[in-house]
């Protein structure tokens, strides 16, 4: 009771620390790391989390001094933590990067409009300029429009294809060297698994590389080929990202997309979580197996990956004459939304045949019934296309103008 009389105050009377931090030993641990099983206190966790990402960035030489880097920002947990950590590391280690936030507005009422409000708050909180570009402006169609047209069956195909290009297009407008995205280790392991199940070797390769550069054979000034993409969270576990956001009280948006049940990924995810419960290293194991498989694919001459060139219509990188986005857009604009969904080779052949027919027809310039029937369906598409070119819709990457001024914190 009056132990205060004796000095110094004996430490044994203090209750022994429950779960001391494995690093500092002096503070109660608040997190068990999924990667190592280590238990850490809040401050040591922040330090380890940030340092590991810094090491990933420097070991893989992701950036060079003076690079302008766009952070793909959705307002969700991963990209919010990415924006916060990129800003913090850029300041702490003096990377000398010029950071910008780049958001895509897919046009999904009740989902993306709310999450973009979060991105705008992040812009102000982290003092990073923000550019938002919309599907509606780029393609003439919002996701709400697309779902009205095609229903909820294949809408994720449109969204995924359009998003990848939209990010690149935004990056060109911002004149950036590099786009970073918030894909984390769990996401990558899921994607590896899905690509293995589908036998999609090109995607397997792309999803496991920490940094990618869509180099085309025709390097004649098509600008997408210069922009690098990387995933600084490749080795960062989702649990730690969420815990980091929670303990740092970061402001992020968390609602599931109203159009996306994403059942396939959901199963892959549950399967991985079940495996992880038995074997702690499952996530890294699967990423490793993805890397090993793509290395052996590369080594094996007989399984050549498709050669890349540029889309004849928009100039975007593509392994076909028409890129997937142009094919999907053509379908939408012609009222044939199934064009480009699923097995596309047949559709592409039809497209090529139609194009050939019309060339022949115009070359011969002889009015004959066969030629007119061959071009019968094109007036619709052609009209849409020419009218959209006059407006805000950008169909050619080459036509895309750079922003004359960078977005500032107060605009948009």
């Amino acid at each position: 009771m009056d132990s205060t009389a004796t000095s110094p105050p004996p430490p044994p009377t203090k209750k022994p620390l429950k779960n001391p931090c494995n690093l500092c030993q002096s503070v109660r641990a608040i997190l068990k790391r999924p990667k190592t099983g280590q238990q850490l206190c809040k401050e040591c966790f922040f330090h380890v989390f940030e340092t590991e990402i810094h090491n990933t960035i420097t070991d893989n030489k992701l950036f060079s001094r003076g690079n302008r880097v766009a952070i793909g920002a959705s307002g969700g947990k991963d990209s919010t933590v990415l924006a916060y950590v990129m800003k913090l590391l850029n300041d702490r280690y003096d990377y000398g990067l010029d950071l910008v936030l780049l958001s895509i507005d897919e046009g999904i009422t009740g989902y993306r409009d709310d999450s973009l409000e979060t991105v705008k708050r992040n812009r102000d909180q982290y003092q990073i300029p923000l550019l938002i570009i919309s599907y509606k402006d780029l393609y003439g169609w919002s996701m709400d429009d697309i779902v009205k047209e095609i229903g909820r069956k294949n809408n994720c195909t449109f969204c995924g294809v359009f998003r990848r290009q939209a990010l690149d297009r935004g990056a060109i407008m911002l004149n950036v060297d590099h786009i970073v995205t918030g894909h984390n280790a769990d996401d990558i392991a899921e994607t590896v698994l899905m690509n293995i199940l589908r036998g999609d070797l090109p995607r397997l390769q792309r999803c496991t590389s920490i940094i990618t550069n869509d180099t085309s054979e025709d390097s004649s000034g098509i600008e997408t080929s210069k922009i690098l993409r990387s995933k600084p969270f490749k080795y960062t576990y989702e649990k730690e990202i969420v815990m980091y956001a929670y303990f740092k009280k970061l402001d992020y948006f968390s609602t599931e997309c109203i159009y996306s049940p994403n059942a396939y990924r959901g199963h892959a995810r549950v399967f991985l979580k079940d495996l992880e419960a038995i074997r702690r290293t499952t996530i890294v194991d699967i990423i490793h197996s993805g890397e090993a498989l793509s290395a052996s694919v590369q080594a094996n001459e007989s399984t050549k990956l498709p050669t890349m060139s540029n889309c004849t219509r928009c100039g975007y990188i593509s392994s076909n004459e028409l890129c997937k986005a142009c094919l999907l857009l053509e379908g939408l604009n012609r009222g044939l939304p199934q064009l480009g969904i699923g097995q596309t080779t047949k559709i592409r052949r039809m497209h090529d045949a139609a194009a050939l027919n019309s060339t022949l027809a115009s070359g011969l310039s002889v009015p004959n019934p066969t030629a007119s029937s061959g071009t019968e369906e094109s007036p619709n598409g052609a009209n849409k296309e020419s009218s959209s070119r006059g407006g805000v819709v950008v169909t050619h990457i080459k036509d895309l103008e750079r922003l004359t001024t960078m977005p500032t914190l107060n605009t948009i």
């Binding site: 989702e238 968390s254 079940d274």
Partner: protein, 113 residues
């Protein structure tokens, strides 16, 4: 001997959507499980987190309990749990015995980034 424990439940990361959009609920949880009303043949024991999860699923959840509770009676995979500010994996997970005044946080990791 109190017959219920005062527990503060908190929800984030989208978890709150399952609980009427409430970020926090202060509630009274029975001290002993299984409840007399249940037909369980479990031995009577002091309330632990597993009991809490089952109890929440039946008393607090209005719809879609499968988004919260898994077939094994734990939370669905992808939901993080904190007990008084610390990862429940450090506190015995499902076996952690509830104490009066505990604060339990549920965070969903399932929503897009």
């Amino acid at each position: 001997m109190v017959d219920s424990l005062k527990i503060e439940l908190q929800f984030s990361g989208g978890m709150e959507l399952l609980f009427d959009n409430q970020k926090a609920i202060v509630t009274q949880v029975p001290t002993q499980f299984p409840l007399e009303s249940s037909a369980s043949d479990e031995k009577p024991h002091a309330a632990n987190i597993k009991d809490l999860i089952g109890w929440m699923a039946t008393t607090l959840l209005k719809e879609r309990p499968e988004l919260f509770i898994g077939p094994d009676g734990s939370v669905r995979s992808g939901i993080l749990v904190l007990v008084n500010g610390a990862d429940w994996e450090l506190e015995g997970e499902l076996e952690y015995e509830l104490e009066d005044g505990d604060e339990i946080v549920f965070i969903s990791t399932l929503h897009g980034g």
